[in-house]
């Protein structure tokens, strides 16, 4: 989908601009943002095709945008407006746009992993093309649901790519206190699937690893496990306390995957200052447009409360 370097940068810039814009809207509860994790989302999305489906945990805005979900509908959804893809009822952590290849986020940590395997099973049983990718965090890697699902996916050779976005934190709990394994992906290897860990701040390496893993799954050889390490530049949610020091955050910010990719592209002579400024402005403009679209949409009518229950 965003297979070219500039396209991938565009996608990262859009995520950052979109989330920054959203975070300024304190009124509508909290949001789970993904600054520092854009390359993970975009790398993964770059390995998926229109036939594929992506599912995620609660930190789902970046991945959905990377997948190509309509930004205006997403913003409307997150702000509880009826122009959202789910009429504003799913909101943060629950929205789904299956026709756009985003089967859904699910805010129960680990809860979407077996659901994703079910989607993959449906693919396989129907003999349909396309694979399923499930994105979850280092925190989720401690959940029994992951293990049960990895095992069954391996037994049944399901077309599913397990991707751990290891942003080193589960709320305040560091990755070392969440999972005793040396590498989170090692548990995938136990079940015989290819398992790799890659630097998720390095757009090029991450995209290559994602492509390789997706190819394996796409070729019908069963599941694969990809761990991408990243950083969380913001607090857990827009209303959660930050637990790290200013110094630590400042040094993390120096590792921003977007600036790193921009520097690379500049260094390779693929981008000039003007173009960079242009891309930044374009992203801001798309985020603004999404906000305008969302703002123009009404909240649902209270009578909708009983719609679509069974």
């Amino acid at each position: 989908m965003t297979d070219d370097p500039i396209g991938r940068l565009r996608a990262m810039l859009l995520i950052r601009a979109f989330e920054d814009g959203l975070s300024a809207r304190k009124a509508h509860g909290f949001q789970l943002l993904s600054s520092g994790e854009e390359a993970v989302a975009v790398a993964l999305a770059s390995a998926l095709t229109a036939d594929d489906q992506l599912l995620t945990g609660g930190r789902s805005i970046g991945p959905a945008l990377a997948r190509g979900v309509n930004p205006g509908m997403l913003m409307a959804e997150l702000l509880g407006k009826t122009a959202g893809m789910n009429r504003g009822r799913a909101g943060r952590g629950h929205f789904a746009a299956p026709e756009q290849g985003f089967f859904g986020s699910h805010a129960v940590v680990g809860g979407n992993i077996s659901v994703a395997a079910g989607v993959a099973l449906a693919r396989k049983m129907a003999g349909e093309p396309g694979i399923v990718a499930i994105l979850f965090g280092d925190g989720a890697s401690a959940a029994g649901a992951l293990y049960e699902t990895l095992n069954i996916a391996a037994l049944w050779e399901l077309p599913i790519l397990f991707v751990c976005n290891n942003n080193q934190l589960s709320v305040s709990t560091p990755r070392e206190a969440s999972n005793a394994a040396r590498r989170i992906c090692d548990v995938g290897a136990v079940f015989g699937m290819p398992a790799r860990s890659v630097d998720g701040l390095d757009m090029v390496a991450a995209a290559a690893a994602a492509r390789e893993a997706a190819e394996h799954v796409r070729s019908g050889r069963g599941p694969a496990f990809l761990e991408m390490s990243s950083i969380r530049l913001r607090s857990h949610s827009t209303t959660a306390r930050e637990t790290r020091s200013r110094d630590e955050l400042a040094s993390l910010r120096l590792r921003c995957p977007i600036e790193r990719e921009i520097a690379r592209l500049q260094g390779e002579g693929l981008l000039g200052e003007m173009e960079i400024a242009g891309l930044r402005e374009e992203a801001l403009e798309r985020a603004r447009a999404a906000m305008v679209f969302a703002d123009a949409s009404p909240y649902p009518d209270p009578a909708e409360v009983l719609a679509d229950v069974d």
Partner: protein, 327 residues
């Protein structure tokens, strides 16, 4: 009741099997997943022979992983299939509550209809010597979950007809057999026929009291009614069949006729099925004398003496009905 339909005699477990076979033959999107549902044919032989017909793709043995089993069923359902997930005992359904209750039951709502989860979870309730963690009846919890449907047959005909309805339903259904029912025989229509959700069945007509129950307790109620008939006390026995949705109309009409309500369940009465039945009936027709019977407030031991002491039997049911009707 349905005197016009030609029927054939079969065991409860055979009726389940027939429903699943017919529906699987009709709809290629249906498949079964669960522990030992494949060549073994199910813990209660309720899938006997289906493996030979439908093969390992559609009769899928799973590892002991209830959480993932229900999650996978939910995902496959959302993606267009119609899985029948089998959880041997209802106690272990708790292990899959997250996928069932936090995901599947809410999927249509949260996506505003973009996705649905047409899945059936088939499980068993009740005590048969299996002990504290294999005997529970938690259907009342499920009744309270918006988006879930809950059915519990007491006869082979209903096992057949309700399973067929369940496999055609567009949202998650929990279909509950009682362990003691599998080896019981009964008449089942020869021609394919469904039992729609939301219709209770009057199993025995009576004039003094309406006894409302479901699952195995229908048999207990009928035995109690026999005992009481000898004393000139006439019980109308009503089988809920479908707990959610509930057929309040049939129930209320019966209580209006008999003037009294007795609710009988094998699970705990606290926040149970009976209290909800009573409340809905009385909301419609006003209060009537009512009493409830269920398990004593204790776990159900596998000990034969304690198990029998804990859950309702015909004698204790009859005594409670007597106390209600002739206080």
């Amino acid at each position: 009741m349905s005197t016009e339909l030609a029927t054939t005699r079969m065991f409860f477990r055979e009726a389940v099997r027939r429903a699943v076979e017919e529906e699987m033959a009709r709809d290629p999107r249906i498949f079964v997943l669960g522990q030992d549902v494949g060549s073994f044919g199910g813990s209660y032989r309720e899938f006997d022979g289906l493996f030979a017909i439908f093969g390992p793709e559609r009769m899928r043995d799973t590892p002991v992983a209830e959480a993932a089993t229900i999650g996978i069923a939910a995902g496959a359902a959302a993606a267009g299939f119609r899985p029948l997930a089998v959880i041997t005992y209802m106690d272990f359904l708790m292990l899959g509550f997250d996928a069932l209750i936090n995901y599947a039951a809410k999927l249509r709502y949260k996506t505003a209809g973009a996705l649905t989860a047409p899945m059936v979870v088939k499980t068993t309730a009740g005590a048969q010597g299996q002990g504290v963690a294999h005997s529970q009846c938690i259907e009342a919890w499920l009744m309270s979950v918006p988006g879930l449907k809950v059915v519990a047959p007491s006869t082979p005909a209903d096992a057949y007809g309700l399973m067929k309805s369940a496999l055609r339903s567009d949202g998650p259904v929990v279909y509950i057999d009682h362990k003691r029912l599998f080896p019981t025989p009964g008449n089942v229509p020869v021609e394919p026929a469904i039992v729609p959700f939301g219709q209770a069945a009057i199993r025995r007509e009576g004039t003094d009291v309406s006894v409302v129950c479901h699952g195995y307790m229908v048999r207990v109620a009928l035995e109690a009614a026999d005992l009481l008939a000898g004393e000139g006390l006439s019980c109308e026995v009503i089988d809920l069949r479908s707990l959610a949705p509930m057929d309040v109309e049939t129930l209320a009409a019966s209580v209006e006729r008999t003037g009294r309500l007795f609710t009988l369940e094998e699970g705990q009465v606290t926040c149970g099925v009976g209290v909800e039945v009573a409340t809905r009936i009385f909301a419609r027709i006003g209060n009537r004398p009512w009493s409830r019977l269920g398990a004593l407030p204790a776990p159900v031991s596998s000990n034969p003496v304690l198990e029998a002491a804990c859950i309702p039997d015909p004698a204790r049911s009859a005594a409670a009905i007597r106390a209600l009707v002739r206080p």
